[in-house]
Amino acid sequence: MIECSHVFKRYKNGTNALYDINIKVDQGEFIYIIGPTGSGKSTLIKLLDGEEVATKGSVKAVGIDVGKLKRGQVPVYRRNIGVVFQDFRLLPEKTVAENISYALEVINMKKPQIQKRVKEVMQVVGLEDKGDSFPRELSGGQQQRVTIARAIANRPKVLIADEPTGNLDPAKSAEIMELLAEINKKYGTTVVMVTHDASIVNRYRRRTVVLEHGHIVADLAEGGYVRHDQ
């Protein structure tokens, strides 16, 4: 489902972000990518959602070579992957329902279908009564649920979650983790979750890829937080 082979990334300003990254994620897998700030996690996500192109090596997702996409094809490619952000990134002037339906309007879905689908995903994330609220009227945990609802609305094969619990307290974080696990299990969505929250990684054990200074220092099938201090 996702395959990075010998990926190097060097930014124009000379910063080396990633060195020889090799990861293979199968369909339906749920993996963590962990590492401290500046370890290259964000770069890896940018390569996956087409924002940046690898300097060397290839990044493939849902059977598409992301680096080879033309600019105009990137938006279309992004419809295959849902992204959940730490800072939620909801459109502040749109209601919850409008935020979710925007992602569907983008793919030219018909109005009645959009309404039906928006209702469905709001049920999945447990916010069926918040459709007319604006993001600022919701708590952080609720906003993150809206983001997840938006990310899964067009049934992506891959869900990328960039520190989804970063702004939430432990109880809310646990709810979000359970929601992500449910989506992974129920719909077979491949989930790649970037985090540096050791408690989560230790509590919900899954395959864990550890990044440090742009290198993969560990890829543990059994999971658990690893600190790789030199």
């Binding site: 959602d49 924002e51 940046e52 600019r71 990137v74 490619y77 992004r78 459109l91 925007y102 309007e105």
Partner: protein, 300 residues
Amino acid sequence: MISRPIKEGFSGVGRHWAMSISSAIAVTITLVIISVFLLLTWNVNNFTQNIESSLDIYASVDYDAENQEAALKKKIEAIDGVESVELSPKSAEFQAYLDSFSDERTKEAFEPYASDNPMHDAFYVKAADGSKIQSIADALYEMKNNNEGLYEISYGGQSTISIVDAMANIRKIGMILVIGLILLAIFLIQNTIKLTITARATEIEIMRNVGASNRFIRSPFLIEGVIIGILGAAVPIGLTIWGYIALYNNAGGILISNMFHLVEPYPFVYYVSGILLLMGIVVGFIGSWLSVTRYLRWKR
């Protein structure tokens, strides 16, 4: 779906009304200035045409050449830049001379001369446009000097020609100013909309994140720009219609002297309004195109 960008464009204006108003004011200010220049240039154009069309060259015929008038007329008509040539017989010239006096006694004093008319037959030569007057007059002088049957040439002379030249210059300067102001308006609006959009850069980023194509993102912003342009044009259009009609009525249709006739307000003000509206729309469209495109560039 064409309705989506329109709907979103309108709600964008509503949701960011403070920014929309400041952009619209930028449009308003420049369009008011443009309107003044348009009215001015148009009127100057009109003055010039009036003056040019009243610039006849007078060429009287030698007594000895009165039998060759048909040939003379042909010859004058052949001069480059001549639009028309009219022959006025000496009786008409005499009558016109008499008519130029307002008191009856002077007129009576001249009556006896009617039987022994001292006037000459005369050609009135019209130039196709003002710039040709000088060269036509020169050609006529040459005919006179070669004794080809002309007795006297007269025209407004250098002073009328300078007026015509001055008007042409004012017109040119006016046009350049209007074009400059349009560019300034685009720049102003681009900047204001850029501010609006900087505030909304996150919004655009989110749209890109969920897979919206550039066209999908851009179209509501363009509609927004057009709406702002129309809103911005409303006040200048009102001012133009009201202000020009007021000016026309107060001045009695003339400016300074009878030589400068103002353009009739109808349908003139509607033409100018149409131009202002069009400028508002175009400027709003281009302004938002330029600013939104900045945020749609892919760094890949």
